[in-house]
Symmetry: C4
Subunit: 500 residues, 4 copies
């Protein structure tokens, strides 16, 4: 058993030990790979980091990320010095802003959660959640694409009662949406993904549990209500045995669908996130590292994703069918050719998604790919959508129930929503997610009625005009000289003095 005194000597970048839950770990080589940056670890070099560790990590994070030989064993409790967590000035300001949040009842739409979360969540959480690939074109296009789809509402239909419940893979949902998988849920709130599990139960919607959750898988399954349906999002490990264990464990715990991520053979670079890390780092440290040529900037994504197998291919699907009876869905399909292949290989469906714009910039929006898939799968295989046997899902860019309704009209079974719920709980905890789901319900009711569609089945392709969906227009660059010479028109103005 190690003594606190011994541990305390390893308090440098060159040899950095920390204590978590009474055990000592040598994290020297892990420093540059830490998603939250090395600085925060170095602050606890040679000390007990439990208090800082707990709110943002799953319990098994350190043991599963660190090679076994770096687990140095237990420390004598009495010999460890107590650590007082210090609150930075920035953190104080953030907490003050937290106090000034508007009432939940003043939050009128999903955008509002984002605007408040941006102000009250930790900077690194905001940077991680909000960032996307390269120039962040696709993340915005995901939303913009919905604005190129317009409604053709029908009138004089009895909409006294509107029912927007539906089914996903045969399971009931109160709305044609699901909570899609997103990583590192505790960055925004100490309860992490549990916020989603609880709100999903309350509102009768399905949660997709992420491989890279901050909470452990079992925690999230344990938190489910009896009968509550959950799916699992899967990053496939290079070591298939690990993957097999995860999949079969999930099935045994009652998971109802396996969403295999196929758009992330490598996790994307997100420059806004990288830029944030530089600012958060100790400049002196960065300088040192910069000069020795070590690239630590892509550490976060690599650290949490280096296990993902870039060799995963169509040939592997057979194996998946051999190890589980859960329906298999490919998450991240981006053209009709691959949707067709998935259908031919017996998948239960596909998620048309570009990973929230976080992977390949200039990937098209899911809803645009949806329209393409519906056309070609009808032509090639005679399929009609929505289709019970082969379900099309879409995610990315959704902020309004009207967005969802547009995707449904075009043939989607349901739509995944991710970031808006992260922002909801980052700002208000589980109550935020509750309110977000309530807002969506209200919007569904209103808009189904206004569209003249009493049920989800009544939401048909003729109700939308998507003829401009494929238009990717960048205007001719502006004529600066002409425009600055042009004197903009002014409207009537008040007199500077009142009439006498």
């Amino acid at each position: 058993m190690l003594s606190g005194k011994e541990v305390a000597q390893h308090n440098t970048r060159e040899s950095c030990w920390i204590i978590v839950h009474g055990k000592v770990y040598d994290v020297t080589e892990f420093l540059d790979d830490h998603p939250g940056g090395s600085r925060i670890i170095l602050k606890y070099a040679g000390k007990d980091a439990t208090q800082e560790y707990d709110p943002i990590h799953p319990p098994d994070a350190i043991t599963s990320n660190l090679p076994i030989e770096k687990h140095l064993g237990p420390v004598e409790p009495d010999t460890v010095e107590k650590v007082e967590v210090q609150i930075t000035d920035e953190e104080k300001l953030r907490l003050e802003r937290m106090e000034k949040r508007p009432l939940l009842s003043e939050i009128l739409n999903l955008h509002d959660f984002e605007s408040i979360a941006k102000l009250v969540m930790p900077d690194k959480a905001w940077a991680y959640y909000s960032s996307a690939a390269d120039d962040e074109i696709t993340i915005r296009e995901n939303h913009a694409a919905y604005h190129r789809i317009w409604f053709r509402p029908r009138i004089l239909r009895d909409v006294t009662k509107v029912d927007f419940s539906s089914t996903i893979l045969g399971h009931k949902t109160s709305m044609p949406i699901y909570i899609t998988a997103t990583a590192l849920g505790k960055l925004g709130h100490p309860d992490g993904e549990l916020n989603l599990t609880r709100a999903a139960a309350k509102h009768g919607v399905i949660q997709m549990i992420p491989t890279l959750a901050s909470c452990s898988f079992d925690e999230l399954v344990d938190a489910a209500q009896p009968g509550q349906v959950q799916f699992l999002q899967l990053y496939v490990n290079k070591d298939r045995e690990i993957t097999k264990r995860i999949v079969q464990h999930a099935e045994s715990r009652g998971i109802k669908g396996l969403f295999i991520t196929v758009d992330a053979p490598q996790l994307g670079r997100r420059e806004k996130d990288m830029r944030q890390k530089f600012e958060a780092e100790d400049p002196a440290e960065v300088s040192k590292s910069g000069s020795d040529g070590v690239d630590r900037t892509q550490g976060a994504a690599r650290a949490i994703s280096s296990f993902i197998d870039p060799g995963l291919n169509w040939g592997d699907l057979k194996w998946f069918k051999s190890i589980t009876k859960m329906p298999l869905i490919l998450k991240g399909v981006q053209c009709w050719e691959d949707a067709l292949e998935a259908y031919d290989q017996g998948m239960a469906g596909v998620v048309l998604s570009n990973h929230g714009g976080r992977q390949l910039d200039f990937a098209r929006s899911g809803v645009e790919v949806l329209a393409e898939c519906v056309t070609h799968l009808k032509e090639k295989r005679g399929l009609k959508f929505p289709n019970e046997k082969f379900q099309l899902f879409v995610d990315g860019g959704v902020r309004r129930a009207t967005d969802v309704i547009k995707a449904i009209a075009l043939g989607a079974t349901a739509v995944g929503i991710g970031r808006p719920f992260l922002y909801s709980y980052s700002a208000y905890g589980q109550e935020g997610v509750d309110q977000a789901l309530q807002i969506l319900r209200d919007e569904f009711e209103m808009n189904m009625r206004l569209l003249g569609a009493p049920t989800i089945k009544d939401v048909v392709p003729e109700m939308v005009d998507a003829s401009n969906l494929n238009s990717h227009i960048v205007a001719v660059p502006s004529d600066s000289l002409f425009n600055t010479n042009y004197e903009v028109m002014q409207h009537a103005m008040l007199k500077t003095k009142p009439k006498l």
Copy 2:
């Protein structure tokens, strides 16, 4: 008979009585449904509210909105304490701005009325009139759509005399426009919709009386000049007897057309309006209500519209034909399929409208739907437009006579204009509406001449190029990094010192 003293004891949110025109009403349960918010009522809890009530309500508003059991009967006049209306600092500033309005002759176009009204009308009136559904895309698209229609003017036609008078449902109008129905007219001006009735008479245009007028229906009919034509806009009541009474009363009073609203089975959420209410409310009250989970935010729309029947459907039209001989027009048709159905069911016409963008966001503009209807009704039923038997009307987004002329060229019989007239009288009373109509006349004369069309019949489809009308383009999101690096060109500049 109640005494003022007794009434005065009911001065809390828990029990709130008020006196209006010498009678006492228990408005406790109505507080959260009051369109103007609860705060303003609570100010008069236990007191005489007549002075505050009169300028913004129709005389029968309180009796018809409050269940009979809340009418507590007369109060002894002498026992009531006089109330001095206090003017807030904000109101003082508003009244000062009112004094600084530019001369009416300096108002050059309909936009000008809006810019002045925005400054001089009460905030809640502005919020109610100007707000629209969800992200307010459709309200702006209504105007934008006109900018995608361009003219093909003809030359060398004798336009010494231009005559832009026309007929609507067989009734003469000096211009091919009508004043469309809008709710709560007294929010902007104490005379409410009477301003419109009077100006309509003066300029020979037709007013459509709204179901939700601030003035009573009979007031507005009484104010009409002999021979002045008026239409009625109808929200259909769940209780058809009430609707029957309204319709038959209207017919007996000489109303010449019944415009049945079909795009509002439920009145839309308008977030700008809701946001304004939160600010206007007493924060303490809001806080209380927020914490007890009562949602009061949709109160205004619900309160004034809960009677509307979401079950209204095509089957009901036969009944309407059985109770009145007035021509029936469906207001709020949004695709050619429904226009065709209306034609087949013997309607006299349809208003292609999305309710000023206040109902379903991403509904297309009326003028876009117009082009679609003309094409398909010609193809399916051989109809030509404009058509005396089945008239197409359009409303939404109109600010210039050129907008109207575009719709006429595409086949509309006439165009409804709403908000611009509200802003006109909110800023200048009836004289404002007079001036607005005069501006439109001037614009008509000028533009008919420049277009080479001496009469409305000469405004033909070949005079417009509407080939881009259906383009709903959202540009590719901007490249922030490239754009900020680009150094914008500068034109020549003055020397900082004069030449020596």
Copy 3:
């Protein structure tokens, strides 16, 4: 003969006499029609206005605008009090800015003249020259349309010598442009249109003399160099005898082409100009007039244009052919149907123009109409363009030689340029126009070379891609909430402190 003393008594709005060049005029009824506003006249009520009058009026302006009965005859010179012209503070600032103009050699393009002119010319001149119809969409579209036309340059052609001279109606021009007609030239510079005549001579280009020139027609013809070609733009008078006199006088003075304006049966309202007048007026006067309901706001345009015949029509063209042998060109044709009619009626050509955006807003740009005309006249009459027998001209929105070259490629014979030359001389007098023409020459030489076209004949349709010319796109209104939530990407930034 009147005495100065007698004149001096008529110094009010009710009776206003002024002296110009020793003669007395009663301008009382003309006050509201004066293009420059009544205020400036009232300043000289009862006094000698010659000093103020001269720099901005043609010598015969007052005699031809005022009915003969208002010509009160000569005044005794000695009895007239001397008037000292006072310079306002604004005028002083303007003159200071004039001193700070950059050197002419620092003016790099036509945009530069506009940016300097805007600062150094009188406000009312800027307002009159720069303003356009309604929302000023067409004036800007005129320029924007050129930005939808792109080049397809050819390589490896011998462009050692490039010759961009051409002919217009058989007359040589050094460039395929002409100086088009614009009104009230002295507002910007005391020499008015003479600046254009002189610079046109120097650079071998053709000037079109406007009916509403500030200089008299004969002055402008007298100023021409031997052999210098001039055209005449004609507003047709209701009194055809006057028109006949003007036309035949022009022919006798050697004018080589008659451009009959057909897009202005009534002169357009230009709100920027109207707004400026209100500001310039004496508020007290305006107030008075405003309250008595007299509309003086359209005075300027009406005053100078009330003689124009809105009854002019195709039937009149025969008469024009009977009174002159000059080639007749219709100026202001805006669709192929009218261009075809002009051809069939034996015109020598048409100017595809919307009057610089000053008449009908949402009229299409000349260059867009050009492409349409070329297509249809080829189809209907087998014409090829450019065509010696029936010439197509275009004006509006031109700022670069590339704009002109695009029009030439599409089939135009030459392109008219107006405002840029007004701005050139308003800022720098005749030297400004010289420099503007020199800049165009330099641009022509450069761009013809880069395009691979040694002569104007080598500028062929295949050298441009005009496939987007007809696209009139207005984007879907922006999503304010989404956009404000989006955190714009930042590039790398300097450290706040230097490295140590």
Copy 4:
């Protein structure tokens, strides 16, 4: 031999001698042609300019630019006064900014180099590098065009290994890019183009040596590593003997490809650059020159480019084939017709380029022309692309590996990158170029993987949607009055005071 005293007397604009490397030159007539302006030379009139000359000129610049009769011979060393180089305040500020550059490891993409270079490089270097033709529409369009091309990524392909190496004209490159030719490399950094040679070697990419390099051709060839491939960009001299000598010398030194520039019979006017020169000049001098009508504004481009032959034409290609065996590529082809002609004439390829937007404004982007060429050359000659026998290259506007990948998918063999590397070394010297190439490698690896393309051959046309590539849209001008009246939506906001 001249004495320093004699030289010192020629210290005026009228007679200006300078000393460089111990020899005297009469530069009086060259003053106005000096690319860096006359002012900087006049500062050294009559003095030793070596210290100022060296860092920005190739050693033979002065001897080859000045006629032999202006070479006045050696000066007696001891008689020359020493010159102290003074640093201006602006230069001091620039050097301070240089100290504050972020670490190279903080540079995340090519945009970042530009943003830093803009701040730390000399103004005249920035103006020369960043400027482009006319209104700088094409330079921005070059980048914008890539944003109209979207990806159609494929999934479930084994991308464990990705190999983006390729060949250009048979020579290996580690990435499908090359460093294209740009002029005056020492303006940004004293080592000029050598920075590129060295980094190219390190990363295994090919450099194209420019005719107008600041370093001499032999310096750049000498600096190459054994086996390092270099191309030569050629401006063809009016004197073909000089051209022959250059070409044959290049071949003898091992140059592997001759890129003949065909888009610059005359070098473009770049107004941003010209504007900068005016500011840099001594106002007094400018004034003098302005008044005598001498135009010095186009001096820089003319001075360095007056030798270029505008008579170069298709007939000359045969001669080139007769003097060299190097593969010949035409640089600056801008339509398919000329690409076809180049193929028919036996060229080895063409560079689809508009010279970085520096020549003809409104020339289309290379990548747009690429799509056109692939279509038509397939149709006319049955060619498939990429093609070993006739290679298509593209340059202009590239900032991301995704841009390159798009061009490859459309059929390009490789893509030229110019300005980004200039900015890289202007900010950080050779290490900057290293880092820029490393960033591109990282981006290639990531994006090839995400696209599902393990090798360059797997990047096929079906992987991109370029259907909007030809859209050159300029929106309808904005409606100022409507837009300013519209009150933009606001999201939820923090309370101004914390909850109590």
